[in-house]
């Protein structure tokens, strides 16, 4: 059944994106920050529209796209991130570019791409959604044309991104060759029953897919593009890269590995565990040496990806129960991580608007020039490090606890050690802000009210999740539910023939 109503929220977002671009075409002298507030409003409508899908029966479009609680979860996350990023960009972009409508349009479309990465239940759809997201980001990274570093970052991102897409496609084609299908549930069934001689092809296919998606979430050793792209991109886009872009990658990971590959976990789980270990160690160790704040966050977020990959590995080592628990905890952690990161970037953007300096040493004396921003940065960094009262403490504890099993205790231990290492470089940032006097000539200044309110709101979010994670955790559990119900369908043997079968009326 073709039920177009499931796309309504994205019709709103993408339609508005075109509208915004057209608006600047017809009213070229429109204030650029008005466009940002418009985008914010659209994103809010988009988020509200997606609320209507909560708790409805899973509804799929010919088996390729499914709107269930999991999709709704990522719709809300996308809409929220786009809304915050738009507000963050208002001032930043007005000062730096003559045209801004494409920027906001692409931001909305990138958000739609992220949603369908979560909603896709078919490999080609997943791939196309992923490309929608990354193509928008290629442009957004280099959007401020006056800065050469941005163009360089964009070019590097495009070249390596194209390479990773090829890897991903090659992996998909191998899996298609073995299983004869690109639908997740049919792949799951076919992998469970495949002939014994197909091991090498399956392993190579899985590894290539892992590498391709690993590239998008910047897991080491596929992380090389991230620090440069982060450094060259406009600050709000760096925020977008390190939040929604990663979250969507994990949505794809979860749907794919829980739905399609869970029947063949033995073939990939060790690789994911290894990838997680390498990613977190490399990210955290290299972060120590950074002098630029954006690069520091790039490496620190690579470390964060390592922690999140622990969950994917746990899914492979445990049964569906473990997988469901661990994915719920991962979803909760993602929300905490996204909110903390956005809070951090809101503060950094506000500071950068004033000083134009994004080095770590440039933050010196912030406790005196702008104590509120210093507080926001402190809270978000402490949240990353997993200290109590802030989101990271509870969510990381839940995530690691749910992943703990006899097979994976070493990896969980390594993750905890890594989050200890990360505390060191976060403290070095703190040191600049609180223990040194400000640069001469920089007096106490005021933050624009929009960014102030935004920062305070995100700060409250970080504290709320840190102190009372219960309600959100329950929401995350409901969102993770549908992931593993697909596996049950396959076991019940209800599936026969063509793509029509999976749709539920």
């Amino acid at each position: 059944m073709r039920d177009y109503t499931i796309f309504i929220p994205e019709f709103i977002a993408a339609g508005a994106a075109i509208g915004i671009i057209a608006l600047e075409l017809f009213v070229p002298r429109i204030r650029k920050d008005v466009l940002a507030y418009l985008t914010f409003a659209v994103a809010v409508v988009w988020g509200v529209a997606s609320l209507f899908y909560i708790g409805k029966d899973p509804n799929s479009f010919q088996g390729v796209i499914q709107v269930d609680n999991f999709t709704t979860f990522f719709r809300l996350l996308s809409a929220g991130t786009v809304a915050v990023t738009a507000l963050m960009s208002a001032h930043y972009l007005r000062d730096r570019t003559a045209t801004a409508s494409e920027y906001y349009g692409l931001l909305l479309i990138a958000g739609c791409g992220a949603v369908y990465m979560a909603a896709a239940r078919e490999l080609m759809t997943a791939y196309i959604s992923l490309e929608v997201l990354t193509f928008c980001l290629y442009i957004l990274v280099g959007y401020v044309k006056r800065e050469t570093i941005g163009s360089e970052a964009s070019l590097k991102y495009i070249l390596l991104g194209a390479f990773s897409s090829a890897t991903l496609l090659y992996g998909i084609s191998l899996i298609y060759g073995i299983t004869g299908s690109t639908f997740y549930d049919e792949i799951a069934a076919a992998l469970a029953e495949r002939a014994s001689g197909t091991d090498p092809a399956v392993i190579v296919g899985l590894m290539l897919i892992l590498a391709g998606v690993g590239f998008k979430v910047s897991a080491a050793p596929f992380h090389m593009w991230a620090p440069d792209a982060y450094e060259g991109a406009p600050l709000p886009i760096t925020a977008f890269l390190s939040t929604l872009s990663k979250a969507a990658g994990f949505a794809l990971f979860l749907r794919l590995f829980a739905g399609a590959f869970n029947t063949d976990a033995v073939e990939w789980r060790w690789a994911v565990a290894l990838l997680a270990a390498v990613t977190m160690v490399l990210g955290n160790l290299i972060a120590i040496q950074q002098t630029n704040m954006k690069r520091l966050i790039a490496y620190s977020s690579i470390g964060q990806v390592g922690y999140m990959l622990v969950v994917i590995a746990a899914m492979g080592y445990g049964d569906a129960e473990v997988g469901k628990n661990a994915s719920s905890a991962l979803l909760l952690h993602l929300v905490g991580y996204v909110i903390s990161t956005l809070a951090l970037f809101t503060a950094l953007t506000a500071y950068y608007n004033k000083t134009g300096d994004d080095s770590i040493a440039g933050l010196r004396g912030m406790a005196e020039t702008q104590p509120f921003l210093a507080l926001v940065i402190t809270v978000s960094l402490f949240s990353f490090a997993g200290l109590p009262f802030f989101a990271g403490f509870a969510t990381k504890l839940f995530m690691f606890q749910s992943a703990t099993s006899d097979d994976l205790l070493w990896l969980v231990g390594l993750a905890v050690v890594n989050s200890f290492i990360s505390l060191y470089y976060y403290l070095m940032v703190m040191r600049q802000m609180y223990m040194f006097d400000p640069r001469p000539g920089l007096a106490r200044f005021r933050v624009s009210p929009v960014l102030w309110v935004l920062g305070a709101g995100l700060l409250a979010g970080v504290l709320f999740i840190g102190v009372y994670p219960g309600p959100l955790f329950e929401g995350a559990e409901r969102a993770a539910g549908p992931l593993f119900e697909l596996g049950a369908d396959v076991e019940a043997g209800r599936l026969t023939g063509g793509p029509e079968h999976v749709s539920t009326p």
Partner: protein
């Protein structure tokens, strides 16, 4: 188990007072220093009152139904979500004889610390925000009967130290702050791993400590498991308790820390470590404790002897107290390692005794350092003539340190020595040796500073301020009361200790 809701709210109020004070201070403008001081004074006085009430109201055993854990309060936090089962995480507060004593200690030292730092003029507001976070963390750890919240507050107590020492400290403050933070958080990495393992192994789906203690005794946690993970908890907590060879942060940290922070840190925070060994070591993993205690005895004895020898050669007031703290915490660990009722009772007595006496010593050091700006013993001499009151306080604290009968140190060390002689006579002998060396370094300090010709450079020093006298008198009162009338302490602690698993009475 009887629930006394009314008294449970007293415990909650004690925990909330510092946290509320902290939150209030965030919203007070920084230049309103008088208001900041008044809020802190009131909060400190309320805390002292409430914690005294908890100590006094704690019911000692009088035949019939005795339950060591009293004044409980349970609020569901998160349950039946993902891996969390019934009672998954609760804000479960309560006190037993040990934590009632520790709460009193925290109340006394925190109020004394407030009085001592009331004159602080540099970033007063920020100081007290962090100070109350620290105190709140201490109270929370003592009251928590839920592993999640135990660790939550334990971490909360450690983190503010970095900024407290780094901003308001002296003498290599950045080095001392970073070393202290990294070592303490490094210790909590081990605790964190241990918590994951215990939760997974017990398989109860709850962080409730009472339920987990039950699991530790009824075999749900296998002997092999207990022996494997006991070192995680003991070394993790031991870092904070200055367990040799993980004590090296202590002299550096104390040397750098500002007065009130030294007081709370040496007075209360180091006790969190020993308290953690009781809660997570002896109570949670009794079989592991039985197996590893001889090892802890060796390390504790080395610490006791090493600390006092090192103190003998130091020339800085604070380093002497830092090393003497290592030595006294060595006694605490020895007392715990006896696994006998009298030894553990002595250890808890020593935790209290060392807490108040070392707080008094640091208070006095702060009082002279603020005027003299040096802490080198050789610079002083004949101070008795210019600061008689100061000398009286310091002398009494020093003599309590040595273990003079009639002061708290004697009561505590007597119990520990008896316990040690009953179980490990050789180590008992070494402990007495360490006590003798303590007399030597204390008398050396007295002779170099108090007596001899007065250096004219110090003729302008003024004696203690009224605030310092009040603060000192409070601590002195605690020292003397425990020295002459220890029955209330021994009753409360002894009742609880006798019911600890595998403890010989």
């Amino acid at each position: 188990m009887t629930f006394d809701e009314g008294q449970g709210y007293v415990v909650l109020a004690t925990l909330l007072t510092p946290l509320v004070a902290m939150t209030l201070l965030v919203f007070v403008p920084g230049y309103q220093k008088t208001l900041v001081r008044w809020i802190s004074l009131v909060a400190g006085a309320v805390m002292l009152g409430l914690s005294t009430y908890i100590f006094v109201a704690y019911q000692v055993e009088s035949g019939g139904d005795f339950s060591p854990i009293q004044m409980q309060l349970r609020w569901d936090w998160v349950e039946n979500t993902a891996f969390l089962g019934d009672n998954g995480i609760q804000l479960h507060l309560g006190v037993d004889g040990i934590s009632a004593t520790m709460a009193l200690l925290t109340g006394v030292v925190a109020f004394a610390g407030t009085l001592a730092s009331i004159k602080l003029d540099y970033r007063t507001k920020d100081f007290f925000i962090l100070f109350w976070a620290l105190v709140g963390g201490c109270f929370g750890t003592f009251f928590a009967l839920d592993l999640f919240f135990f660790f939550f507050f334990y971490e909360l107590a450690v983190v503010p130290l970095y900024l407290l020492i780094g901003i308001w400290g002296s003498t290599r403050k950045e080095y001392g702050a970073m070393k202290l933070t990294l070592m303490l958080v490094g210790g909590s990495v081990l605790i964190w791993i241990g918590i994951f393992a215990v939760f997974h192994e017990a398989g109860l789906g709850t962080f409730n400590l009472v339920a987990l203690w039950e699991a530790g005794q009824n075999g749900a946690l296998s002997p092999t498991f207990q022996k494997t993970f006991f070192p995680f908890f003991v070394i993790g907590c031991g870092v904070l308790a200055a367990l040799w060879p993980f004590h090296t942060w202590s002299p550096d940290g104390h040397m750098s820390a500002p007065t009130a922070v030294s007081m709370v840190h040496a007075g209360v925070l180091m006790k969190l470590g020993a308290f953690g060994i009781i809660r997570l070591g002896i109570q949670l993993l009794p079989e592991g404790a039985e197996f590893w205690m001889p090892g802890l005895m060796v390390l504790g004895t080395i610490g006791a002897v090493y600390g006092s020898i090192a103190a003998l050669t130091q020339r800085d007031f604070k380093l002497i107290s830092g090393y003497s703290s290592v030595s006294h915490m060595g006694y605490v660990l020895m007392g715990l390692a006896t696994m006998s009722a009298i030894g553990i009772t002595g250890a808890v007595l020593q935790m209290f005794s060392h807490g108040v006496m070392t707080a008094l010593v640091f208070l006095m050091i702060g009082a002279i350092y603020d005027q003299a700006h040096t802490r080198d013993l050789r610079d002083f001499g004949g101070i008795t003539k210019v600061m008689p009151m100061w000398v009286v306080f310091y002398t009494i604290a020093g003599l309590a340190n040595v273990g003079l009968p009639g002061l708290s140190g004697f009561t505590a060390e007597f119990h520990i020595f008896v316990g040690t002689f009953q179980t490990y006579p050789l180590f008992g002998g070494l402990a007495i040796l360490a006590a003798a060396i303590a007399a030597a370094y204390m008398l050396r300090l007295f002779s170099m500073v108090f007596f001899g010709p007065t250096n004219p450079r110090w003729s302008s020093l003024h004696d203690l301020t009224p605030m310092e006298r009040m603060s000192g008198a409070l601590l002195l009162g605690a020292i003397v009361i425990m020295g002459v009338w220890w029955a209330p302490f021994v009753d409360r602690i002894g009742d609880t200790v006798e019911l600890l698993p595998r403890v010989a009475s």
